[in-house]
Every structure is written in C-alpha cells, then in structure tokens.
C-alpha cells in the first residue's frame, strides 16, 4: 500500500495499517531550501524543491502544495505585507468602513484563477504531481469563505453580523463562489484533496456558524464532491464550541488544532461518516521541543485517535523554524511500529522517574569489560535479537582473551529504562561498551564489536599501568 493509499483510506473512514501522516509543510518548505518565506511563496521552483525535500525527510503520505490564506484576498485587492518567516499578512480591508475604503463587492477587482499567485500554485502542483503524485496525496488549500470575508471586511464583519446580517451573507455568497472556482481549478490540476481552511470561524458562536458559514462552505464541499477529489475542513484555533456544527458539514474530513482533544472530535465525526486529523503541538513541541517531545506527542495523538479514519497532522501550518529532526522523529513513529512500542515504554517512564537508585558501575575500575545491550526485549523483537546475538558472538570469538560481562537490559522493566537513561542511549537496540554507547539501532558486524571490546580492554590496562 502506498502512503497515498493509506491516507485516502483514512479519509474514506477506513482502518489503516499504520497512521496516515500529513505534515503541513507551508513556509517551512522555505527553511528546507534556505529561502525566506516571501521568496518561497512566490516561486513555483522553490515550492517544488521544498516539497520534494520534505518528502525525503519526513516520508509523508500527503503534502499541501501551499499554506497561504492570503492568495484569494490578494487578487481581490487586499494589500499584503510580506515577511521572511511567516506567510504574508493582509493589511488592508477594502470593504471595511472602519479601516478601509468601504468598497462594495462590485468595486472589487474581478476574481480569476489566472491572477495573483494562483498560476504559481498550479505549476507547483503540476510538477510535484509528476514527481511524487503516485505515492503522496497532494492537498490544495483554499481560504475559507468566512476568513476571506474577514480579509475583505476587516473587523466590520463582526459588527455587521448584528447591524446588517444580509450584507455579510452577500459577501459570504461571493466568497463561496470564489472557493468553488479555486477548488475546481486545483482538482483539474490534479489535487487529490481540497481543504477549506477557515480559522476565523473559531471566533464565532455555533448559531452564527450555522447562519453565516455552513451554507457557504457546504456549497464548496458539494462542488468538490461532484469530482473524484476528497475534501477537508481545517479550523486552526479553539473551535471547541463549533465541533458539532462542523461534524455536520458536507466534507470528508475535519482537521483540528491542539486545543481540541482528538478523542472528542473522533467521537463526533465517526458517527457522521467522516474522518479527522490533527493535532501535533506546533509551538511547545515541534518548534521548541526536542525529538523525544515530538515522539511522545506523536504517540499521544496516535493512541488517543485510534487506527480508523485518522490522519496524523500538526495542529496548523508548520512554523518556518520547526526543527526538521522533530518532524523526522514523528515520521519514525508513523512508519515503525517497533519504534512506537519503544517510545511508549521509554518516554512515559523517563518522564516520571529520575532513576536515582540505579547506579552505573565504575566501568574503568572493573576487571571485566562490561557490555550492556539495551533492548525492547531480545526474545520478542527481531532487531533486538540480532543485536544481542552479535554481542554474544563477539564474546564467544574473544574466548578467554578478554574478561567480559554481558548484560541485557530490557526496557520492558524499570531497571532497563533506568539503564537506558543513565547510559544516554539514543535509540534501541543499542550496545554500550564500558558505559559508552558504541552501536545504536543498526546491528554491527561482529568484528566491529570485537574491535571495540579489545580497545576497551586496552584502555583498562593503560590505566592500570
């Protein structure tokens, strides 16, 4: 099964052999190719390079082509302020009376997908499709109608929802038409999934959502449903109060951010025959945390979501400076069931225990060379079995020439986890010789282990003499 097939299975609400993985590589693609966000989002060459690099590093099942909720607004005459590490921000709201020119819909430039940066997005989509489209599902994101209406109206939209609701509905109608046009064009260019991203809906009540959002996003989802593409609704932000109304939308998938528990959204969307996605922590984990934090967070998401209808994804657009190694760590959790088991066993224990009572031997002053093999369990897992056997073979080969003590530490026990922490073992299985981690993950040739043991024995003799 290709990654794309796994992701499409999840979107259709089916069980998957492993979690489907969708890193939202937006401006972060720029970091991967050493380009600032403003240059990146205005160049199909850079976007293609960034996404291909992300594909190598993160082994995703799906990738978004661009994550930029300003593209439609730009065509409609909103001015943008560009930045080096974020998508551009809309700085003028042409239809706002409070902050702008108070233009009407008729005054706005005519919308067309040949304008602005849409041709860049289409070209990037065409090229990425050709390169990796067989194996990776390609997402195209469009600005949700409420967020686009907010770009046009500024904060007036909130007041107008009370003062002149019809005027807001007219703008929503206009924005939904644009959404349909954009969705159809992306699908014509080969998008497998079209996501309507409408973060500003997190700011309104469910009654307002029903009145001002539901009919308009549904029109876009109905357009998508009339093609072979799938659809998703993304709401970054705390959408807790609107989960029920979101679950009733005409889309295939609902994606939420870290503020909403995954099991909560799962229980709401599964009965509605929808899939769901989320919600790795963007800031505290992916941006500021380390690989272990990323693994733990991935495991939390995977375990609370279950293995049906679920797409593992960040809570929203990945920040530019997210550490690539953190996303690679998430990819490891996705692709390697064994590593998931290891992480489950180790990370939880490590976080709640300082293992003060587990003391390492004074390796240099011991007579024997001490080999510590840290495993999940050499009886139950093949890589651990080979690693332990390699150490045994090395001992056999050396015979009486070197005094050796060989220990296995299984991380299914507290002692094992404690040794793993104290020996600072990065990956399992590992071989440590006299307290130094010499081989991690990949089983070495026995001769290499022999060489390390002999070196360790020589060091002891040097110390003695």
């Amino acid at each position: 099964m290709t990654g794309k097939e796994i992701l499409m299975c999840a979107l259709r609400g089916e069980a998957t052999p492993r979690p489907a993985w969708l890193p939202y590589v937006g401006v972060h693609g720029g970091k991967l190719v050493d380009a600032p966000a403003d240059k990146y989002l205005q160049s199909s060459d850079l976007i293609v390079k960034g996404l291909l690099r992300a594909n190598e590093l993160y082994r995703p099942d799906g990738l978004p082509i661009m994550f930029d909720l300003q593209m439609e607004a730009e065509v409609l005459g909103c001015q943008l302020k560009w930045a080096e590490k974020t998508p551009p921000a809309v700085v003028t709201h042409p239809m706002s009376l409070m902050e702008g020119d108070g233009k009407t819909l008729a005054d706005l430039p005519e919308f067309c997908v040949t304008k602005g940066r849409f041709p860049i997005a289409f070209e990037a989509l065409d090229r990425v499709k050709q390169e990796i489209g067989e194996d990776v599902a390609l997402y195209s994101l469009l600005t949700g109608p409420f967020t686009l209406a907010l770009h046009l109206l500024g904060n007036d939209i909130f007041m107008n929802m009370y003062d002149n609701p019809q005027s807001v509905l007219d703008v929503m109608d206009f924005c939904a038409d644009i959404g349909c046009q954009v969705a159809k064009s992306y699908i014509e260019h080969g998008a497998d999934v079209v996501a309507v991203v409408d973060p500003m809906t997190s700011q309104i009540s469910s009654e307002h959502f029903d009145e001002f959002v539901t009919p308009y996003v549904n029109r876009i989802f109905d357009c998508i449903a009339s093609t072979k593409a799938m659809s998703s609704m993304f709401v970054c932000g705390d959408a807790t109060r609107n989960l029920e109304v979101m679950a009733a939308l005409h889309c295939n998938n609902i994606a939420i951010d870290e503020q909403i528990p995954l099991d909560k959204i799962r229980d709401l969307v599964l009965p509605a025959n929808k899939s769901f996605g989320g919600n790795l922590k963007l800031t505290t984990v992916l941006l500021m945390g380390d690989e272990e934090d990323a693994k733990l967070n991935a495991i939390e998401c995977i375990d609370s979501a279950g293995d049906q209808s679920f797409v593992l994804a960040p809570g929203c657009d990945l920040p530019y400076d997210v550490k690539p190694e953190n996303l690679s760590a998430v990819a490891t959790m996705v692709h390697d069931e064994y590593q998931r088991d290891v992480a489950r066993n180790t990370i939880n224990s490590k976080q709640s225990d300082s293992f003060d009572d587990i003391v390492l031997p004074d390796y240099q002053n011991e007579d024997a060379v001490i080999i510590d093999v840290v495993t999940l369990d050499s009886e139950g897992c093949a890589p651990c079995q080979y690693m332990f056997k390699a150490a045994l073979d090395a001992r056999t080969r050396l015979g009486d020439k070197v005094k050796i003590v060989l220990n296995e530490h299984k991380i299914t026990t507290r002692e094992g986890v404690g040794m793993m922490v104290k020996l600072q073992v990065p990956n399992l299985p590992s071989i440590c010789i006299d307290g130094q981690c010499k081989f991690a993950s990949i089983t070495p040739d026995t001769a290499l282990i022999v060489e390390e043991i002999v070196n360790a024995a020589r060091k002891k003799q040097e110390v003695e003499s």
Binding site: K81, A83, K85, T86, A89, V91, N155, F158, M159, M161, Y162, Q203, I204, S205, H208, G237, T240, R241, L282, T283, T284, L287, P319, Y320, D321
Partner: protein, 210 residues
C-alpha cells in the same frame, strides 16, 4: 428617577443607539458621571464574564465594546469636569512582526471600560516604541499581544527591553493565541491572560487595584 440598569443592559447587548441615548438621558437627569460610568462598567463586566465562560464570542464582545466607547464619548467631558481620574495608564500593542489586532483591540476596549487610561500603539510595535510610550505616559501596565508563533520571540525582546530600562514599577501582561503561562514565566512577564475578559482581572490584580 432613571434606572441605570437599562444602560447596563444596553451596553451588555451591544445596543449602541439605546446606550448612547440612555447616557445622554442620565446626564440630563443630573445623575453623577461616576454612577453612569459604573453602570456601563457593570455591563462590560457581565459580558466579559460570559466571554470567559464561552457563552458569547468575539462579535458579541465587539458590539458591547462599541456601545461602551460611543457612550463614553458622550460621558467623558462631564466625567473629566467632575474630577474623575483613571486608575492608571496602560500601554498596549501587538509586538513587532505581528499585524493581528483583534485580540489586542478587545483587551484595549475592555481595559478602557475598566477605568484604565489606555494608550494603544497599534500593531507591529518595536520594543523601543513600547519603552518610549511607557516613559512618555508614565504607564504602570503594558499589554503585549501576538497571534503568530513566529512573533513570540518579539515578546521576549520587548520584555527584555522594558526590564533593561529599570522601569521597575511597570507590570507586563502578555496574551494571544500561541502564548501560555509557561511562556510568560520563561520570558519574565508578570502575567498572562487567556482571553480579553481575564485581561481585566489580571490587570487589576497586577496593579493592586482589587
């Protein structure tokens, strides 16, 4: 005698037409400016509490704040004449690199409604501008807002700039979607508020008002 409860209700429901006419009526009926202000503040407090409890949302808060602002414009001359002084001056802005202002505007309006004199520096405000405004207005409170994860470091830089000036009696309160209490602790801010209504309580607490 006129019942100021109607004014409270008009503010709470964001009915600006009614709120402004009731404010004028109250002044015409020679009610004290302070009592009129108090009635408005109760309205803002009540809507703020509902916001905290997730019973109302941004649109409801904005229309209430608009009703409050328009009514304040009518009340202000009489209030000043009566010798009213705000409890303290606060400076607020969205930090450098960030152009989002909904959250910041809400806090600004809520602070104004809670008897603070608010200097709103707008968006994309540099650390230097914050420091200069604190000095110029003798502010005792600074509110820093950020929506983007990527502009959180600007908050840190702003806190450092304020602290390096030894403006020791200024309290710094931070907020915004990506911000947390632990981030506030990490960068040495005096407080963190998860929403606009809580920002009023936090401000008063930091200033030792309540």
């Amino acid at each position: 005698m006129m019942d100021l409860k109607d004014l409270t209700e008009a503010i709470k429901t964001g009915n600006r037409t009614q709120a402004t006419s009731l404010t004028q009526e109250a002044l015409d009926a020679d009610l004290t400016p302070q009592s009129i202000l108090d009635a408005m503040v109760v309205g803002m407090d009540e809507i703020g509490d509902k916001f905290k409890r997730n019973e109302v949302f941004v649109p409801e808060m904005l229309i209430a704040a608009r009703a409050m602002n328009e009514s304040m414009a009518i009340l202000e001359p009489s209030l000043v004449k009566s010798g009213y002084k705000p409890l303290a001056t606060a400076v607020i802005g969205t930090v450098q690199g960030d152009l989002h202002d909904i959250g910041k505007n809400l806090v600004s309006m809520m602070w104004k409604g809670s008897a603070l004199n608010v200097i709103d520096l707008g968006t994309n405000v540099t650390p230097d501008k914050f420091v200069a405004a604190i000095k110029e207005h003798d502010a005792k409170l600074v509110g820093l807002s950020a929506l983007l994860t990527t502009t959180m470091p600007s908050m840190k830089a702003t806190v450092e700039a304020i602290k390096s000036e030894e403006l020791s009696d200024v309290k710094i309160l931070i907020g915004g979607a990506p911000v947390t209490q632990s981030f506030a602790d990490q960068i040495g801010a005096d407080g963190y508020s998860p929403d606009a209504a809580s920002a009023v309580d936090s401000a008063h607490q930091l200033l030792g008002i309540r």
